[in-house]
């Protein structure tokens, strides 16, 4: 074989080897440096360019990507280093699959006078026939001598307002009365009007969710014998359209008067969240046993309105030692006035004392089992019912409404009454009944905006009668949840859609700090940014799979081999 032939053979072999290797496409693992990708999550309404530039200079060589939060979630993916730059105006939740450390860089408020809303609370359910209250907690700095105007708006309409005069810096609590403009879920915006020279306006507004309804609270007033004390409580409730009052009064051993269907049975007590009981000394053992089941098992609220010392079977319903006191002139007992009182020797840590005389509780709400027992020791408060512009009526209406909200047989507990569009809101359904062993089917539907009712899957929880579900806030419209029990009660609640901040700036910052601490990230501000990001190191080298034959450069030797081999053959006179 000539030298040319040998060269041509070698060239062909090399070309064939390249082709075979390309077809085989072998995989090799080689250590390579991993790029350092850092996501800066912009969670601020203020300009944070300075902070972002500082992060770039603190992490040289890092691939910095700036993102904003969407759908209330932190915009970071697994494998990415995450730095939150936040001033508290934007809330974000931690994604479940994010496992790396998340650092927080706080954007502070510039110095100067400032007013901030710390919280705003309103009753989740509001009657359309009454006005409501929003409890607003403010924090003021450099505000002495100034006044802050608080407005509650429903859409563009102002539905409540109040003014606070600052006598000293610090915290202030204000109650703002408001009135419902319509039924269903409403997003109320509570705003402190900013003033000229205020340091920051991002902390001046919060949104609160309220469901306005026309449901009347059912109340049973049961008097074992005629009693003025309970009769005037009944009258106070009957005069209010928010209540549907049924009553039964025992006139003689076998004679009773009142509204129909109020015989004291388990089914009667199943239907009402609150029972007001009077003439307690005439209560029988059977009636007391029913009341005990109503409170402890059914979870209802029992309001005891005695007119003398509690004796007989009814004594089982109250705990602690109650003694009677008589005075020549009436004294203030919470919001009531009374001269004849029953006083509790000592309240337990679980009791809520609504009125006391000389540090001795007189009006007490005590938890018992699943329910509550309220005792009003203001025996003759009804005599002074016209004092203080009807404080007697207001007190009883307010207390019965509060107790009824926790004593309903079917309850919907929403994690939040207001949510951003696209959020998923979890809720819990609790169904209590006198006959605990009786299983019932519970169904739930959600109606968002003008859409059709969509069924919601309910999942049984550990306790009987307790279910959980989730409402997707699709379409950016308020949703109404309706839960029904077969042959039983029906309950509904609503979720409003927020267009602004739901939580206060301080609450958002606390939550972000918690996320940073739990994930192992650092927390700092513009001055301590380097320390906060110190733990955020470049990941170094990592074994990386490689396909060497996929490089296009292999075409050069392949073509060169074939070309030289062809040229040698042509020079030798071959074809």
């Amino acid at each position: 074989m000539s030298r040319d032939a040998l060269v041509r053979l070698a060239l062909r072999t090399v070309a064939a080897a390249i082709a075979v290797a390309a077809i085989a496409d072998p995989v090799l693992t080689v250590p390579r440096p991993v790029p350092h990708r850092v996501v800066v999550a912009r969670l601020a309404s203020a300009n944070v360019d300075v902070e972002e530039a500082a992060i770039r200079s603190a992490l040289p060589g890092a691939d910095i990507i700036v993102r904003t939060a969407s759908h209330g979630r932190l915009p970071c993916a697994p494998g990415e280093s995450c730095v939150m730059v936040a001033d508290g105006s934007v809330a974000a939740a931690l994604p479940d699959d994010l496992d790396g450390p998340v650092s927080l860089i706080r954007v502070g408020t510039p110095p100067g006078p400032n007013v901030a809303i710390r919280s705003a609370l309103a009753s989740p359910a509001q009657s359309a026939a009454a006005s409501g209250l929003v409890h607003v907690a403010l924090t003021g700095t450099g505000m002495v001598g100034r006044r802050t105007e608080i407005h509650v708006t429903d859409g563009a309409a102002t539905v409540g307002s109040a003014v606070h005069e600052w006598a000293a810096d610090g915290e202030a609590a204000i109650e703002v009365a408001w009135w419902p403009l319509g039924d269903g879920p409403r997003a109320l915006r509570v705003a402190a009007l900013p003033f000229d020279g205020e340091a920051s306006a991002i902390d001046n507004a919060i949104e609160v969710g309220v469901t306005v309804n026309r449901v009347r609270t059912r109340v049973l007033v049961f008097e074992a014998r005629p009693s003025w004390a309970s009769a005037f409580v009944r009258r106070a409730l009957e005069d209010d359209p928010r209540f549907q009052v049924e009553h039964r009064v025992g006139l003689a051993p076998s004679l009773a008067a009142g509204t129909s269907g109020t015989r004291l049975t388990a089914s009667t007590l199943d239907a009402v969240p609150v029972v007001v009981a009077g003439g307690l000394d005439a209560l029988g053992a059977g009636e007391v046993a029913l009341f005990e089941r109503f409170v402890r098992e059914r979870g209802g609220a029992l309001v005891l309105v005695p007119d003398r010392e509690i004796s007989g079977a009814a004594a089982r319903l109250v705990s602690g030692q109650w003694t009677e006191h008589l005075e020549a002139s009436p004294s203030a007992v919470g919001r009531l006035r009374a001269s004849e009182t029953l006083r509790l020797a000592r309240a337990t840590p679980f009791d809520t004392v609504l009125g006391a005389i000389a540090d001795r509780p007189v009006i007490v709400v005590s938890p018992a089992g699943r329910g509550r027992v309220a005792v009003s020791g203001a025996l003759d408060a009804w005599r002074h019912r016209d004092a203080d512009g009807g404080a007697f009526d207001r007190f009883w209406r307010s207390m019965v409404l509060e107790l009824a909200s926790a004593g309903e047989a079917l309850q919907i507990d929403l994690r939040q009454q207001i949510a951003a569009a696209g959020a998923h809101v979890p809720f819990t359904v609790r169904h209590r009944q006198m006959e605990t062993a009786l299983p019932r089917a519970v169904t739930a539907t959600a109606t968002c905006g003008a859409g059709a009712a969509e069924p919601i899957r309910l999942w049984p929880q550990g306790s009987p009668g307790v279910f959980s579900g989730t409402v997707p806030m699709a379409g950016g419209e308020p949703c109404e949840i309706r839960v029904a029990v077969d042959d039983g009660p029906v309950a509904s609640s609503g979720i409003a859609v927020s267009t602004g901040a739901i939580d206060s700036v301080s609450a958002v910052m606390r939550e972000l700090e918690r996320i940073a601490e739990q994930s192992g990230g650092g927390i700092g501000d513009r001055a301590t940014l380097a320390e906060a990001l110190a733990g955020m190191q470049a990941p170094g080298e990592a074994p990386t799979p490689s396909h060497p034959m996929r490089s296009p450069w292999w075409m050069s030797p392949f073509v060169a081999c074939l070309g030289v081999e062809w040229w040698l053959r042509r020079r030798s006179g071959l074809r």
Binding site: S127, S131, L133, A157, G160, S161, G182, V365, R383, E402
Partner: protein
């Protein structure tokens, strides 16, 4: 060279040309400013920007014109002179030679100068460049521009399609609204006429006449709380009237309109207040020992519109027991009228001619009447004059305290008289307070008699209190509530116990008085008074066996129809949701919409706000502010204020908010039960 005289004359003309140019520039600038101002007004600019834009444009125009005409030269002035009076170009030649010197023979130059000077003497510079007309024109244009800039946008027709919520003049709208108010004749107030008012304040009963000028085919006045008033066409336009008895809001709408061009009128009615009359002198009840005397009475009365009469009348009660007779009479009064609304009266009441006897009582009061024929007379507080020996037992002319609680005060009167009795003997040698407990015989028979008189009074008071215990039931509910206490013997805390205690003290006081021991009696009398006050303070009521209202009328037995029998239903005294709540909510939605799109906030909306409650001053104020809002800023402020007023009114009408908050912990009950169980178990 031209002669100085020629140059002076030419220069004078040149100066006048310069002044004329300045005047013309100012005129043109003012005209420009006026024109720009008019455009800005039509475009809806507010006052300050309108003035700024107009002044800048005017100054620019004046500056440009001044620049272009500034360089009036001597040659130009000479040419102007030549144009006015043909001088064969001699002045121009002379000016040219002065402006651009050139070689000219001296004899020719001298001749030119000589002839030019001769002819120039005949030329009047004021005729060559007259300044009067430019000054007049400039003044007129300046005045016009100022007027254009001063007049507001409401006087200028708007550009079609301009977005504005203002009340717009329209051929179909109300162009002019005149309101004629005729107060009731008794008020003495003159009638008044108002053009385009938004709010009027009238006396109740005033006749309000509306006259609307419009191109529409009819006008209806929608008056809140009453039927709409259709205005009828007459020579003045459309008119209608009603008598204003209460505050209201009126929306005056042209027929066929689409809600635009509506006029709003808030009518605040001030009711005629009744007169106020008082008797500052003597101002207390009196007791006189004799049947003769003279009492000075002073009376003051005032009324918001005017008083018609003022008098003092008395009633004499004579006799006793079942034979009491009453006699009416009037005390002559001298009246001083400060003005029609404030009167003073004074009387010297001589009792001699009244035929008084011991034990008689005079009750007198002042009575005032205003000019309102439908008004009722108002009387002052009544005062008492007790006549006789008993009333003057301690001393003539002492005043009785005001009566508030009858029985307590009667007891107080016994105490007062006892104190007076003790004080009357203080000056005597054996009459010091410390010695009062000594045998009273040393004070004489008069002392014992006076003590016994007081004992009689004390017994009378006691008997009245005893009677009270069996008196009429005033509130059966209260009595029923009290009944169980009696049944249980819990009298130590009841008003009845205090009453019994008071009776006991009274009996003991009476015994002391009968024994002439006034000081000891005084202590017991005071204890009785305290017990009485405690009894009344507890607001107890005392049951007679069969109250008058509960007696059975035997004549009506078995006469009723059983089919008409109904169970008793208590009248609800509580609140109900306001009937107009839905309307208020709709209005609130409209206000909210208007605040976002800046449209619809007009007189019609103001009328709706005012109609919610015409008696609510804050709503009326908000409505007026909205109806009179002139620009966008004030309209937004008025909308804001209106929403707050409507909200405040709605909250006031709704049930009170639940202001009690209970911390409901679902696990607390279980935990408490468990702790209780473990506590019992450990025992």
């Amino acid at each position: 060279m031209p002669d100085a005289t020629i140059l002076d004359r030419v220069e004078r003309v040149r100066f006048r040309m310069w002044v004329r140019n300045i005047l013309r520039s100012v005129t043109a600038g003012a005209a420009t400013a006026g024109g720009v101002g008019m455009i800005a007004t039509i475009a809806g600019l507010s006052t300050a920007p309108r003035w700024i834009v107009a002044i800048v444009a005017g100054r620019l125009m004046a500056f440009l014109l001044t620049r272009s005409t500034w360089g009036a030269t001597t040659t130009m002035a000479a040419a102007l002179i030549e144009r006015e009076a043909p001088l064969d170009n001699l002045v121009v030649t002379a000016a040219e030679l002065q402006a651009r010197p050139r070689p000219v023979r001296s004899d020719i130059r001298d001749e030119i100068v000589k002839q030019a000077e001769a002819r120039l003497s005949l030329v009047d510079a004021t005729r060559v460049v007259p300044l009067g007309q430019p000054i007049v024109v400039m003044s007129a244009v300046l005045a016009g521009a100022f007027a254009v800039l001063t007049i507001g946008p409401e006087s200028v027709p708007r550009m079609p399609g301009a977005i504005s919520g203002a009340v717009e003049a329209s051929t179909r709208g109300i162009d002019r609204l005149a309101v004629h108010v005729t107060p009731p004749a008794y008020s003495g107030r003159p009638a008044e006429s108002l053009a385009n008012p938004v709010q009027i304040i009238v006396v109740s009963g005033s006749r309000v006449r509306l006259v609307a000028t419009t191109a529409a085919e009819g006008v209806v006045a929608e008056i809140a709380g009453q039927a709409p008033l259709t205005l009828t066409r007459d020579a003045e336009g459309f008119s209608g009237e009603w008598v204003a008895q209460r505050s209201t809001a009126v929306a005056i709408r042209p027929a066929g309109g689409d809600g635009r061009g509506v006029k709003f009128l808030s009518v605040m009615v001030v009711a005629d207040a009744p007169p106020v009359v008082r008797m500052p002198q003597p101002g207390t009840d009196l007791a006189i020992s004799g049947t003769r005397g003279r009492i000075t009475i002073g009376v003051e009365a005032q009324d918001d519109l005017g008083l018609a009469s003022l008098s003092v009348r008395f009633t004499k009660a004579s006799g006793g027991g079942e034979s009491v007779t009453f006699t009416e009479g009037e005390v002559p009064l001298a009246i001083t009228r400060n003005d029609g609304r404030h009167w003073r009266g004074r009387a010297e009441w001589v009792l001699d001619g009244l035929d008084l006897s011991d034990g008689d009582v005079l009750v007198y009061r002042a009575i005032a009447r205003d000019r309102n024929p439908n008004g009722t007379p108002v009387q002052s507080e009544q005062y008492l004059v007790e006549v006789g020996r008993l009333a003057g037992a301690v001393g003539a002319g002492f005043a009785l305290p005001a009566e508030e609680k009858k029985f307590a005060i009667s007891q107080q009167m016994v105490i007062y008289k006892t104190e007076q009795l003790i004080a009357s003997v203080k000056g005597k040698p054996s009459g010091s307070l410390g010695e009062m407990s000594l045998p009273s015989r040393s004070l004489g028979e008069g002392w014992m008699e006076q003590n016994q008189d007081l004992a009689i009074e004390q017994r009378m008071v006691r008997s009245e209190v005893v009677f009270l215990s069996g008196g009429e039931v005033q509130d059966e509910v209260e009595e029923a509530a009290h009944s169980h206490e009696i049944a249980e013997g819990r009298l130590e805390n009841s008003g009845r116990a205090e009453m019994v205690r008071a009776l006991n003290f009274m009996s003991r006081a009476e015994t002391e008085l009968n024994g002439g021991r006034a000081v000891e009696a005084l202590v017991l009398e005071r204890e009785a008074l305290k017990a009485l006050e405690r009894a009344f303070d507890r607001r107890r009521y005392f049951l007679r066996t069969l109250p008058e209202r509960s007696r059975i009328d035997t004549a009506r037995r078995l006469t009723g129809n059983r089919s008409e029998a109904r169970p008793w239903v208590r009248d609800r005294g509580g609140f109900e949701a306001p009937s107009n709540l839905t309307g208020t909510r709709e209005l609130m939605h409209e206000l909210a919409a208007a605040s976002t799109v800046a449209m619809g906030a007009d007189a019609a909306m103001a009328a709706k706000i005012a109609a919610i409650d015409p008696a609510d001053a804050s709503l009326q104020k908000a409505a007026v502010a909205l109806a009179t809002a002139a620009d966008e800023r004030t309209r937004r402020e008025a909308l804001w204020a209106a929403m707050q007023a409507v909200t405040a009114h709605a909250i006031k009408g709704l049930g009170s908010a639940g202001d009690l908050r209970l911390q409901i912990d679902p696990l607390a009950g279980r935990l408490a039960d468990e702790m209780e169980r473990s506590r019992k178990g450990s025992r």
